[in-house]
Symmetry: C2
């Protein structure tokens, strides 16, 4: 029979001991109560913050029945004898109250500590308990389970600060399911509490110990210590092989076998003897754990100064960093949060990664372990292998998937490179060759070739991509004296929502977009644009004697240029002109592609343009490593055919099509794009888009993530010039006299957001928040609430 | 007492059964004998080749005592009933002959197969056996162990081809040690036999099953099937949670509990009943395994055609690929070998990766698992996080290590980017700024700035790096009409060994290098070069009115330009000139750095040049993912200081300092550079270099890997124009009328090498072999032998 504890009376009666004196915490189906938790600093902590002022240690077992509670007891006693108060926490207990590790440890402390003062220094807690003596996921009933977030929050609250050492004992092995059925090592990952792994000393125990170790390592846990109780026959010495197969920073300690009669949990003579025998080991272990903690904290503290001495950051004026407090130390990442160190508060604090780490991040907490496993598998199987004329499955399947899905229906070929910048350089080479072939210019040496592009565009930092944009602070002579803006750069009309209405801005003019849906086609507006663009090209060719050999755009939204939304009709007009003039169109979807704007490809789905060449990176690997693809039509590919190698595309990078990136890409594309794994992808029944997919196929659009009422409200705020929300992005242009990248208007807004747990980066007078394609609507809602509050 | 089997008589007597009729193979301390192995096609196979004509299945256990042999028996019976002959192989047996899984399975077959024909279709083998009933690493004695290579070879020989299904049953769990003490999953990795993982149905078994699964996945094993015997109480249903946490391509099958009395291995009624009960499951499992095998083979077969339809390879004239046999399918990598599919032979065959996969590979088989684990940990802990003004440990430690070791003593700052090409673009931006600041040119808009470089140089494929080299087929108008060779490109003297002597070639002149050590300084020669270089610069400035604002060299060896060794005196002369004229020196060590030439940095250790800027990539991550570093002196860094952000270095990439690459880099640098982990690094006692390290510190040089006698012999061969061996590289220039990249002289040599199991790539009239910094001298010797044979 299942038993859910509801009151303290129940609990005390059942245990036959005084709950009050031990400071038990317990969880009941009706709520959580803390009876003796005055040492917890949780009240003072921010949401999700974990203190580093004292040591928190998690005891994990390589298996059941390896002696976790024995090791916990030994560590508790040793910490007490170091004159440290100790809090023992058992987050999940089954078989309760017959089984209670808290009670066992308490009894051990009572029995072993003659000194009353030491007993006073000990508290223990059981956070959740169920009566069935089975795995937690089987012990819970339909009404008395606990979800992962709640469990983590309860544990976080039970991590005492101040002088306390907190010892947290998990249940089962790292891969054992918790109450929710998710794996315990995944559930507790947000805490990343340093681990004592209790290994298995029995026959076969080397394998279970090492596989548990690796399972935790690939989830990013630090494991300062492994303790292994010898097998009863004292013959195996498993610790030796274990020691040879773990990192140097993991200490492996053998403990003697414990001959405890099975099932008896009173601290009997054998247990006392065992604890005495291993006292020295436990003292050494506690010392090592305390030292590891100190090293961890000093490493976090010193990282800022060390960074200022060695690192040269991109896009950073180092002379403006006058204080090491201007440097943020990142301890780790957990799903959509980055975990940063607060030197003043001595805590680790999650911040929502609201810039998606330079627009690269695509996974949420649930999918990160899967991505990590895929990448690890790719390294184990392939590492890296040279690519020309070779093929391996991850590259092939990623290329096919990108051509078929993102590049449908225009693309047929995939060329790999390393990042957005190289993808665009490759795209430019492709486009120019195609143009020269189409227009019989291959033999003409004297003609200059320019691109058609837009002001505010950004395509990367290598010279070729810099030459493809208008002069600016990023590519001027000061940055690179070799810069030469080689193009006709037009000033595009932009659009945003202002006071609840879509408006367009064209130079000093404004116009109303006559629709609630800014993507609805307007032939009249487009015709005007076409005329203007044609005239500009004519003028340019006449003035420069150069030809226009390629067109390059970031579909719908210019990213680095200020998170600006271009009037979709203008992009369509450019495409119309280029199709007429047989100028190849390159779409730079490095930022905008692969679900960033809520669709696989903004080009086709939002603009209904069929380009010749498309560039993809950033989200391509889901957010772990650099890799890029340039997709091309078969006609572009054929322009590089011929008898000689000199006619081929002679471009390549050492890590072309590296299997790590390809595997990450396959996993990301599959999980992001399927309604089975991503609740944000609308199902075939909800077809609303104008893509070419048949009914019954997934329609290829994400449901809107951002609450349209809130967007409307923000668009009315006095500080707001305009706003748009599209896919994973919400972007607010602030009113400002001094616009552009060098403006500082948005800095104070991002600082306010930071105080509210959102890591955002200013972009001149623009503030934006970017989520992942998996982010829940409720998370988007709370992010938008914070933004609204800050802007109000 | 340990018992080593020495003769068949011993064996048969001990077993009390007829060895001949069962076709036992056995291993003895005096050798290996095959008694009934006519179905093995090993004779026809190349070294290391594994046939795919029939199914090989490896049975692994999540733990000891989970029912591996029961599952093996069930699969054997089912395969026999599918009319397939079956070979059961037990590579490692302890407790022998009292315990013998081979015997148990044989008895099951005898007892269950009424049909005599089926019994005839079964053979079984035990490959190594020891008498102690403990883990193999404890069972072996000092004289009767078996090394990993021998064990793998024996297993490979026991994998039958033809109609046979081979079922291989491992011992213990994936992380259990084999006879050598290495982990079984690492020992058997070269075979990568598809896995049936027998999970654990007991309490705690979910964790051991999933951790075993992940341990094998991160080593690149394919796991088509997991089978789990229910616990005896039939209550846990572990398979459900296991199924929810494995890839979709892994089928999870629950089997009923087996109530076999412990210790009894005769096929008693309970066992028979269990096999009958689960017959349907086993039939399904065998069918799935046969299907998986077919899919595996068809996927390998079809990959070539699929690649030709979708992939656009770098540096490849696709019109020259007229046949899918010109495409190589890579199944996996194993240490220094790539494993390729042979469509004619239907085998997987290891090829030595003699081009180090475009010069990126740095690990050997022993260190790959460590690298994989480090990377996996970095993904689990960090994924990727945005970098400017942020810092994380892997980036910080890698930057510090590179500055301190590779960049000593001149570098103080590390700037991250994605690949060699971007590292050089960054280097150029740094150098030009430094020059303009030093020479008060920041305000002068009209002056053109050129680089000083060498013919035959190669610095990458992006436009900025292409502009920094002389015009060639790679950067001409056909490739990119924006190309502009912006430099003074000098023709350097090259050196090689010819007929046992170092000679220099300068234009049409030849000279003798008056020393056995080509790096010994020769002030006289240098003075001549200095004069020539100064005169060239004067002429260039006079003719073009441009200034020379940076110097860029690949120290010692030009890589892509033809694996040519430049006269070290010439590089020194260039550096002298640049120091005098205050022209910043960029060393492009993307190829030459980080142990490729046997030292951390060729610049300092071999040339004794102190540059201003250094570019590193390729080996920087040990060979898994792209990442680059540009190191700079403090003076260069300071040239970007100032009040405004516009003066900062405004360059950056999304994945700047990605933790995956940084962690891989840290592991690689540490293991490659320490005599503790790399036997090729000379110890402090063997100091022979002129680096700045104190006695007692590691001297920073690798011992010579290539046999100098063989190099001398090859230098005398009639087909050989010249040869040099340096660090991990041996390069042979062949006699040829038509030199350069478009020459085909070397193609036939590389084809011959391929036949001998070495994957090499031609570079015009040059053939080279490249190993890793870990490669053993004996492996280098055998590679050089093959090269000598092919060239003779």
């Amino acid at each position: 029979m299942r038993y859910a504890i509801r009151t303290l009376t129940d609990y005390s009666r059942l245990l036959g001991i005084s709950g009050e004196s031990k400071g038990f915490l317990y969880f009941s189906t009706t709520g959580f109560e803390q009876l003796h938790g005055s040492h917890s600093s949780s009240d003072a902590r921010h949401e999700g913050e974990v203190g580093l002022q004292s040591e928190h240690i998690a005891i994990w077992g390589a298996n059941t029945d390896v002696g976790k509670t024995l090791v916990s007891s030994g560590l508790v006693l040793s910490a007490l004898s170091h004159s440290r108060p100790v809090h023992y926490v058992k987050p999940v207990q089954t078989g309760f109250p017959a089984d209670s590790d808290s009670r066992l440890v308490s009894k051990v402390v009572d029995s072993m500590c003659g000194d009353d003062r030491l007993v006073q220094n000990f508290t223990s807690s059981t956070l959740c308990a169920w009566s069935d003596a089975v795995s937690p996921h089987l012990a819970v009933g339909p009404n008395d389970s606990v979800d992962d977030q709640t469990l983590v929050k309860r544990i976080r609250d039970a991590l005492y600060d101040g002088e306390y050492v907190t010892i947290l004992e998990t249940a089962g092995g790292p891969g054992s399911p918790g109450p929710s059925g998710k794996l315990q090592c995944d559930i507790l990952r947000p805490l990343r509490t340093p681990v004592v792994l209790v290994g298995d000393g029995k026959l076969g125990g080397i394998s279970t110990t090492l596989s548990s170790y690796e399972m935790m390592k690939i989830r990013g846990y630090s494991i300062p210590l492994i303790a292994i109780l010898e097998n009863r026959e004292r013959t195996l010495e498993n610790y030796k092989i274990v020691r040879a197969n773990v990192e140097e920073d993991t200490v492996v300690v053998p403990l003697t076998a414990c001959m405890l009669p099975e099932g008896d949990e009173t601290p009997d003579p054998q247990l006392k003897e065992w604890l005495q025998d291993n006292k020295k080991s436990f003292d050494m272990m506690i010392q090592h754990l305390l030292d590891s903690h100190s090293e961890r904290v000093s490493s976090l503290v010193s990282a800022r100064k060390e960074a200022l001495e060695t690192i040269w950051w991109p896009f950073t004026q180092h002379d403006s960093i006058t204080d090491e407090n201007q440097v943020t130390v990142i301890d780790s990442r957990c799903g959509e949060d980055i975990i940063v160190f607060s030197p003043e508060r001595k805590t680790l604090k999650p911040l929502y990664d609201g810039c998606a780490s330079w627009w690269t991040q695509g996974m949420n907490a649930e999918h990160v372990p899967g991505l990590a496993k895929h990448v690890a598998e790719a390294i184990g199987r392939y590492g890296h292998v040279i690519f020309p004329r070779n093929v391996h499955r991850p590259a092939l399947d990623l290329a096919k998937s990108m051509v078929k899905d993102v590049g449908a229906p225009w693309a047929s070929r995939a060329f790999f490179s390393d990042n957005g910048s190289t993808a665009v350089e490759v795209g430019l080479k492709m486009a120019f060759r195609k143009y020269m072939k189409d227009h019989d210019l291959l033999e003409k040496e004297e003609i200059g070739i320019d691109v058609l592009g837009l002001h505010g565009a950004y395509h990367g930092d290598t010279l070729g991509t810099m030459n493809a944009v208008a002069p600016s602070v990023f590519n001027g002579r000061l940055q690179t004296p070799w810069f030469q803006g080689r193009g006709l750069f037009l000033e595009p009309p932009i659009v945003y929502m202002r006071q609840g209405k879509w408006v367009g801005i064209k130079g000093n003019d404004e116009f109303e977009v006559g629709s609630d849906d800014v993507f609805v086609e307007d032939q009249e507006r487009r015709a005007v644009y076409v005329k203007e663009i044609l005239a500009s090209i004519d003028r340019h060719v006449h003035e420069t004697k150069n030809i226009v050999g390629a067109c390059i755009i970031e579909p719908v939204v210019q990213g680095a240029g200020g998170m600006r939304m271009i009037d979709p009709e203008y992009h369509r007009a450019m495409a119309d002109v280029c199709t007429t003039c047989r100028i190849p169109i390159i779409v730079d979807e490095v930022f905008t592609g692969i679900w960033r704007l809520g669709v696989e490809s903004a080009t086709l789905s939002l603009l209904n343009i069929r380009p010749d060449i498309g560039c993809y990176a950033k989200l391509l690997t889901g957010g772990v490593v650099p890799m890029a693809l340039t997709l091309a039509s078969e006609e572009v590919f054929e322009a590089f055919g011929g008898d000689s190698k000199a006619e081929a595309l002679l471009h390549g990078h050492s890590y072309t099509a590296h299997p790590v990136g390809c595997s990450a890409g396959l996993y990301s594309l599959r999980t992001m794009g399927s309604p089975d794994s991503n609740a944000n992808i609308c199902t075939p029944i909800q077809h609303t888009c104008n893509c070419s997919r048949k009914p019954g196929q997934t329609c290829g659009k994400m449901v809107p993530l951002w609450d349209s009422d809130a967007i409307h409200r923000i668009s009315h705020l006095p500080r707001v010039q305009g706003i748009f929300a599209l896919g994973t992005v919400v972007s607010v242009q602030l009113k400002s006299s001094n616009s552009g990248y060098e403006s500082n208007t948005a800095v104070s807004v991002t600082e306010d957001l930071m105080q509210r747990g959102i890591y955002a980066r200013p972009l001149g007078d623009v503030v934006y928040i970017m989520v992942t394609p998996f982010t829940s609507k409720s998370r988007c809602k709370s992010l938008l609430n914070e933004l609204e509050t800050v802007l109000t």
